[in-house]
Amino acid sequence: MPDPVLLEILKNLLSAVAEEMGVTLGRTAYSPNIKERRDYSCAVFDACADMVAQAAHIPVHLGAMPLSVQACLQRFGRLEEDDIAILNDPFSGGSHLPDITLVSPVYWQGDLLGYVASRAHHADVGGIAPGSMPLARELFQEGLIIPPVKLQRAGVLNEALLELITRNTRTPAERLGDLSAQIAAQHVGIRRLQALAERYQVGVLSEYMLHLQNYAETMMRRLLAEIPAGRYTFRDVLDDDGFGHTDLPICVTVIAHPQKSQETMLTIDFGGSAPQTEGGVNAVYAVTLSAVFYVLRCLLADDSVPTNAGIFRPVQVIAPPGTLVNAQFPASVAAGNVETSQRITDVLLGAFAQALPGRVPAASQGTMNNLTIGASSTAGEGQARFAYYETIGGGMGASATASGLSGAHVHMTNTLNTPCEALEYAYPLRVREYHLRRGSGGAGAQHGGDGLYREIELLADATVTILSERRAHAPYGLFGGQDGAPGENSHFEGETRRILPGKCSFQARRGDRIGIATPGGGGYGDLPQETC
């Protein structure tokens, strides 16, 4: 039995290690995407590569981070002291190419304590479009692929590798700055974990890393015990893949208490989901795991439960290879991480709404509305190269007890916006409008949150790429609540307005405006009866 006092103290201290890594990374990074939007995560793992603590930043990184550590161990067998491994390969520990992950082992007096990892979304890693969130047909078009390799070996930085990476991006100085920030975060994580080992002894620390996973597992099992035995199925669709393949289904069956032994209390089976497709909406297994992890963590509804591997122990996930939820090499995957992950969350919540009625809200906007505006060096004389990437919030689904938030990021992301005043200083762009889309939330006993409208004027010719969802199929309402309004993308050339598809990439000219209307959240429950 663990000491309940030490359990509480080490729970806080281990999560403080991850938090402090995050503070360091956020503060020292270069790109607005990391500093201002905070698109990064940090985590601590035990010597078996099981996650023991994660700083709460971006849920889509959650389930994926442990696979990064495992991929490094598979590749190298073991990491030596003062090694740092780097990777972004979606098929070997990554999620999509812009997310670059660093993994370091932590040793103390010769003993392996565990690992620390940091993952950050880099604003450009090459590929066919500035911002590296293109509409592509295969992985190779999406940017530089980094399999697990050693960025630092026994304390010596591999400068040649760094040069190779920066040479393959449109913004090398920024990449170097952001990678330096990640290295700084790794160092902080290593030092803090070593300090814990020094203070509490290696054996005690390792033992409590395990106790903390048991603790999260206990909390998870208690929640799962409340679900009546049975099968709960839900199906929703992705609008399209950007290459004409439409209405791509994602299906899930949640089976509660599949065995007598109760070793596995929940099986989550994505059988029936569409085969992987041409465009980048393919999600790798890591992304699917992240969505499952996120939903389970939310259902626990207790902020104090440590976010660690214990949560997963009573759960089995089946994602058939070659489908949208477990794409195989060399599928393009840029949007799988940001868009398909949202739909996976939607179907999971749809299934749990039946399993745990009253605890699950209606669908939220179900997209991140990825907008990239950039110009490469060929854009014309006197033009600076730039790559601006943002994601836009929308309506949250209503719950049994509250209406949905308006104009917020939902589920798999929680990045901040770039202030208009910061954006206009940094890029040849002007924000014309940024406000709620009134009435876009679904009606109901509790109404869904409203989406946003954001309109940006280009002050220079640029390539515009949009990866968005829920333009054709609306976020669902629950128990009589109405659906939220789908989103809509527009391109204004002078007075002419052209409705854009949900996924597109095109050349726009100086003076053009891009308008993104994001979806509203679904309503919850029947509208109150009008009294006559």
Binding site: P4, L7, A16, T28, Y215, A402, E421
Partner: protein, 690 residues
């Protein structure tokens, strides 16, 4: 300003109103219960009790503005913004407040949606006007706000810091409309309150100001009348930055006092420590519900990243980190079987179980744990005016101890360890995470509970010196008698550093300097009492967080050339970046904002040193305190009988009306010539880890 050394500090807290009266003869202290209905009552009663002279300067720390915001009792506030950006407050930074929550209760907004107006206009980052404001439209929007009952108006237009013309026009129109309708309307312009970039943060700061200013204004007016009847002609109010403002300035810029609660205490702590010869300090103020932590590296450190209830208030404040662990924090067992402490607190009503006011359901708190371990003496609490009920503490401990299968003493010890771990983490955030090694600092605890936990925390952080001030419980009121007048001015400029020269800096600082000189003269400061503190916010181009670099002289100074040289400024950024983040690079730098603090110096007070006593300290009683696993005999000393030169050895307890200090074995201390207690590990060896 009157330079006679005579001032009184009045700090109003949730339970007590503290007064410190400083005259040439020394300090006098008075403590009375806060009068919640009208806080000015206890304030004035206290002045009467101390027979404060009419010419004394009165400085006040108040949470009236903060409470109005927390309890949603502010003015009915309207907001006018650039057309197309009407939902600026709702959208905020577009993030949801918690990551793993599927549903959120509606959030309080200080400027309701129906009172938000939009005007067509647009200013560019350069300050150029792209679309001119139509005064007729502005008038229509203001009229509409008034019709809907606005008592206060905030105006925040895009890029107004680069060109305030449109905001100023709306301000004038609003004043005129209010006059015509014979309505009172408080107007707050973002370009005046916070002329800095980032529209949401600026709008929020301006709205908070508009929301609380009328409330603070009414309170201060009422108080000033009471003071005037007693012959006091001036009233000063503490701001979040640690400087004081005249009541007149404070009511116009009420947002500047929103986070002032902990500021006076840190000011008092800094003064006390400097007199004792220490200027690198980590302070912690442990009260009933929370602990405020700050670090001083020869100066008080400031930040502008404050917020209240999630609403940013970006005016300068002390860099203070707060953690929800205090004497009243409640111990409980969560469903995973871990022992937890806080963040729920028993507060002062009903308070910890041992106060005997909570009946049989009273929760077990940190204070109860301290009592069971012998770290609080039942006979000496609040100067013996309140007897602590040990049996009640045991009753509240029993169910928790049973559930965890621990003895009550093990439980109590665990509760203290967890509370200490929370505070230790806060101490690390303020030191290690900011790039400072805590071992190079002196720990200075204050607040009623601080000195009870200080030496254990010092041991955990390997801090080798602890200073316990003479009056740990009234340090805020003391700080109020000492704080300088400080008014802060800023302006976002966003220049590439390489393209700057001295002339450009002079141009940018000139209007700030002019306003500062004007304001300080108005408050009655003579040129010799005025000090200007320029600073610049710098960052690497492309980064979005700035570091504030304090500069020694104004750009018009004869020695400014070397300091304001681009290469010299870049070097300062590199050094600051290295210190804070552990690395620096050579890259293009931007000047984001220029800042100026206008300081009106108050006479510096010196408490006179007392002669050393050669007698030994006499214990008032003996007790037993649990350290690690054993009860050890410990002497109990009465603080008021300790004389300079007295030496103390752990294990010991020092009792006084406003605090209890615990000295574990392995620590020894001495009373200094101003009656502070200074502790160090015995024999220079490190004290054992708690």
């Amino acid at each position: 300003m009157d330079s006679e050394l005579c001032s009184v500090g009045v700090d109003i807290g949730g339970t007590f109103t503290d007064l410190v009266y400083r005259t040439a003869q020394g300090l006098r202290v008075h403590k009375l219960l806060t009068t919640r209905q009208d806080e000015s009552l206890a304030f004035l009663q206290g002045l009467d009790a101390l027979e404060v002279a009419a010419q004394a300067q009165v400085a006040h720390g108040t949470t009236v503005a903060t409470n109005a915001l927390l309890e949603h009792r502010g003015a009915r506030t309207a907001l006018i913004v650039t057309a197309g950006f009407g939902d600026i407050l709702t959208i905020g930074r577009q993030a949801r407040p918690a990551l793993y929550r599927l549903s959120f209760a509606p959030r309080f907004c200080p400027a309701p949606e129906e009172l938000t107006g939009e005007v067509a206009e647009r200013v560019l980052p350069t300050g150029e006007i792209l679309l001119a404001l139509d005064p007729a439209e502005a008038r229509r929007v203001v009229e509409e706000c008034l019709q809907r009952g606005a008592e206060s108006l905030a105006v925040c237009l895009l890029f107004s810091f680069a060109n305030p013309q449109h905001e100023q026009m709306i301000g004038e129109i609003a004043a005129q409309c209010a006059r015509e309708r014979q309505r009172s309307l408080f107007v707050s312009l973002s370009s005046e309150i916070l002329p800095e970039y980032r529209e949401f943060e600026r709008a929020s700061t301006t709205v908070l100001n508009a929301y609380v200013a009328p409330i603070l204004g009414r309170y201060l007016e009422n108080l000033e009348q009471g003071l005037l009847r007693r012959g006091h002609r001036s009233l000063w109010v503490m701001q979040s930055s640690g400087g004081i403002l005249s009541a007149n300035a404070a009511r116009r810029e009420a947002v500047r006092s929103l986070l002032s609660g902990p500021a006076a205490g840190v000011t008092g702590a800094f003064h006390t420590a400097r007199q004792a010869g220490f200027d690198h300090l980590i302070t912690f103020d442990m009260g009933g519900t929370s602990t405020d932590v700050s670090l001083l590296d020869g100066a008080i450190r400031r930040t502008s990243e404050g917020s209240v209830e999630g609403w940013p208030a970006r005016t300068p404040m002390m860099d203070i980190h707060t953690v929800g662990a205090g004497g009243g924090s409640i111990a409980w067992v969560d469903s995973g079987g871990a022992l937890r402490v806080g963040p729920q607190s028993a507060g002062s009503q009903p308070g910890p179980a041992c106060y005997g006011r909570g009946g049989s359901e009273a929760p077990f708190t940190v204070t109860d744990a301290n009592l069971l371990l012998g770290r609080l003496h039942p006979d000496y609490f609040l100067g013996g005016r309140m007897r602590l009920d040990r049996a009640a503490a045991q009753r509240s401990a029993a169910p928790l101890a049973d559930r965890l299968g621990m003895s009550q003493l093990a439980l109590a010890r665990g509760v203290i360890r967890i509370a200490n771990a929370h505070i230790e983490q806060a101490l690390r955030v303020i030191s290690v995470e900011r790039g400072f090694d805590p071992r190079a600092f002196t720990l200075l605890p204050f607040g009623g509970a601080g000195p009870m936990h200080a030496l254990d925390l010092a041991a955990a952080l390997h801090i080798r010196q602890v200073l316990i001030p003479r009056y740990p419980g009234v340090l805020s009121a003391l700080g109020l008698t000492l704080a300088d007048y400080v008014k802060d001015y800023s302006q976002t400029v966003m220049w590439p550093l390489a393209q700057t020269d001295l002339g450009l800096f002079r141009q940018a600082f000139a209007p700030l300097l002019q306003r500062a000189a004007h304001d300080l003269a108005q408050e009655g400061f003579q040129p010799a009492e005025i000090h200007f503190e320029p600073a610049v916010d710098l960052r690497y181009k492309g980064q979005s967080f700035e570091l504030t670099i304090a500069l020694e002289v104004l750009p018009e100074d004869s020695s400014a050339g070397a300091i304001y040289q681009p290469a010299a400024l870049a070097a300062r950024l590199f050094a600051a970046h290295q210190q804070r983040y552990g690395y620096a690079v050579t890259q293009a730098v931007e000047v984001v904002t220029v800042r100026l603090a206008g300081r009106g110096l108050r006479p510096q007070a010196e408490e006179s040193a007392l002669p050393a006593s050669h007698a030994a300290a006499k214990a008032a009683a003996h007790t037993e305190i649990l350290f690690d696993d054993h009860f050890l005999p410990a002497a109990v000393y009465a603080r008021e009988h300790l004389q300079p030169g007295h030496k103390l050895q752990g294990a010991a307890m020092i009792v006084q009306e406003d605090a209890t200090s615990i000295i574990p074995p392995g620590w020894s201390g001495q009373v200094d010539e101003r009656l502070n207690l200074i502790f160090r590990p015995t024999n220079g060896t490190e004290a054992a880890d708690a």
